[in-house]
């Protein structure tokens, strides 16, 4: 573990990238910030710009229209950063796999852009907020 990764783990600031989702994972992510789960007590804050973010929260299946925007957002994020793929859609395509507007999966797109990208998969449709917190904690303990 390098110094940079060690600093990354302390209180991660996240940027939410919605790549043609069905809104469900997005709503559950916002749910994490509200009183029942309240991840702000761990220092996790939703920020307004990828330049400020330590992690990208990516949801959805990433259609043709949004792919270049996702790559641009990934480039804009300060490295090292962690990409959390929320939900079955972003992990493996879910019911949309094989659709004409869903040519590639998100991890393929990101790995093509940066082969050393750190990608964390949190499956579920949608993953429950508890599962999301568990996934983030597990990922941080491995890094």
């Amino acid at each position: 573990m390098g110094l940079k990764t060690a600093a990354l783990k302390k209180s991660i600031w996240v940027f939410h990238v919605a790549c043609s989702p069905c809104n469900n994972c997005d709503i559950e992510i916002l749910d994490l910030l509200t009183p029942r789960f309240d991840v702000e007590r761990f220092g996790i804050i939703l920020v307004g710009s990828p330049r400020h973010a330590d992690a990208l929260l990516i949801t959805g299946v990433c259609n043709r229209h949004v792919t270049p925007r996702l790559i641009e957002t990934y480039r804009a994020t300060a490295k090292p950063c962690v990409c959390f793929l929320f939900g079955a859609c972003s992990c493996q395509g879910n019911v949309f796999k094989g659709g004409y507007n869903v040519p590639r999966l998100i991890d393929e797109i990101i790995l093509e852009e940066d082969p050393n990208a750190i990608i964390v998969y949190i499956p579920g449709c949608p993953p429950k907020p508890e599962a999301m917190i568990a996934g983030v904690v597990k990922a941080l303990s491995v890094l």
Binding site: S20, P21, R69
Partner: protein, 404 residues
């Protein structure tokens, strides 16, 4: 005065979903709003033609995560219309119950986001905390917080237990208390009045002209609710029993839209209670055999307005055409009537006040990058004519219409 162009999006902290707004400003005043979508198109209609009749509900459920019962609900109503069958009473009541639970949590969600948009995060936190109770009840009833998968052609997919219904009653009681408190807090709050009253007024004429539906048109004085005008499933019986009422307000501003949604939550709570108390016994679904040739339409009053599904069958095990029209499709253009002349700070709120759901709406994706493609009516007609000529060429004969 010089015009300023302000781009917002596609990934913007205020926007839940990716979409791209262009605001044309004169000073602080908005003169024109342009919207580019296509970031959410996943090709549902095409994918649906590759799945069997019983698999499609799982696909259409994933059109939208917030109104995730309304799409399969409208779809199964369409297929039942094609088959000319009716679900057994218990199946109908279960579907309607889930539909109403969804309305409650969707409206509370919108209220929270509206609070967030005006920088009133207390409202956001409160609304979403009260929403959790409803989600717990949904989890108890169906097994998942969202994406309930309770609709199937011919009835409900699974039964609800008495224990779950008792739990739901408790959740509804506690939610009613908090929502009533919430309503009082909104009505008494001078900040809310100053911020929301008279902002983004949608007149009754505009609402009718743009064919707005649901909680966008009802606060403008248009009494149109599919549950009342064309009752289906358990709604007809509940109307006869006077279990609930349609909320119609007159002002048409953002305050009226917020108030209408809170009042609708209270009405939905009443209706849910009535549905649970009058839940009939018996079968939850009928056996559905082969789907014959034909076509069917189904519509359901989703939290955002009327959702419409059309299916066509050629007698095989898959639909050959599936058309979806989401409520946001008609609600969205109303920003053209309500935005111009408003302050830039209010535009986020006004566009949010229709509770837009872009992932429901998008049926077209533009693939070319860095090129502005706008298809006008003439372009579409030209494309259509070209296709007809192509087909004539392919099958080697001219159509009868060409003679005319």
């Amino acid at each position: 005065m010089k015009k300023t162009i302000l781009p917002i999006g596609p990934f913007h902290p205020l926007l839940e979903e990716p979409e791209f707004f262009t605001l044309y400003l004169e000073g602080e005043t908005v003169v024109k709003v342009d919207l580019r979508i296509g970031y959410n198109h996943r090709g549902h209609e095409k994918l649906a033609t590759g799945l069997t009749w019983d698999q499609v509900p799982f696909l259409v459920e994933r059109i939208c995560g917030i109104c995730s019962t309304s799409h399969p609900y409208a779809y199964v109503l369409a297929v039942e219309d094609l088959l000319d069958i009716k679900a057994p009473p218990r199946g109908q009541y279960i579907r309607s119950l889930i539909g109403e639970m969804e309305r409650i949590h969707s409206h509370l969600l919108w209220l929270g986001l509206a609070g967030h948009f005006i920088g009133y995060n207390t409202v956001w936190m409160w609304a979403w905390r009260y929403r959790e109770e409803i989600l717990d009840a949904c989890e108890k009833l169906t097994g998942n917080r969202n994406h309930y998968a309770m609709c199937r052609v011919g009835g409900a997919r699974r039964d609800v237990t008495q224990e779950a219904m008792d739990f739901t009653m408790q959740s509804l009681d506690s939610n009613e208390r908090s929502t009533t408190m919430f309503l009082g807090a909104i009505v008494d709050d001078p900040v809310m009045h100053k911020r929301l009253k008279g902002v983004g007024v949608l007149t009754k004429e505009d609402a009718i002209a743009y064919a707005a539906t649901g909680p966008t048109s009802r606060p403008s004085g248009v009494r149109w609710d599919v549950r009342e005008t064309d009752p289906y499933d358990a709604y007809g019986a509940s109307l006869k029993a006077k279990a609930w009422d349609v909320i119609v307000l007159e002002e048409g501003d953002v305050f009226a839209k917020a108030a209408a949604r809170v009042l609708e939550v209270l009405e939905s709570i009443k209706l849910c209670r009535w549905l649970i108390e009058n839940m009939p016994d018996g079968e939850i679904d009928v056996k559905v055999g082969n789907i014959p040739e034909g076509e069917g339409c189904g519509r359901h009053e989703a939290p955002r307005g009327e959702v419409f599904h059309y299916v066509r069958s050629d007698g095989s095990n898959k639909p050959i055409r599936h058309k979806v029209r989401a409520p946001t499709f008609t609600n969205l253009p109303t920003y053209k009537a309500s935005c111009p002349g408003e302050q830039i700070a209010d535009v986020a709120l006004i566009t949010a006040a229709i509770d837009p759901c872009y992932c429901c709406t998008e049926r077209v994706g533009v693939v070319t990058r860095n090129r502005r493609n706008t298809l006008t009516q003439d372009d579409l007609v030209k494309l259509s004519v070209e296709k007809t000529l192509e087909i004539e060429k392919k099958i080697g004969r001219r159509s009868n219409l060409a003679k005319i």
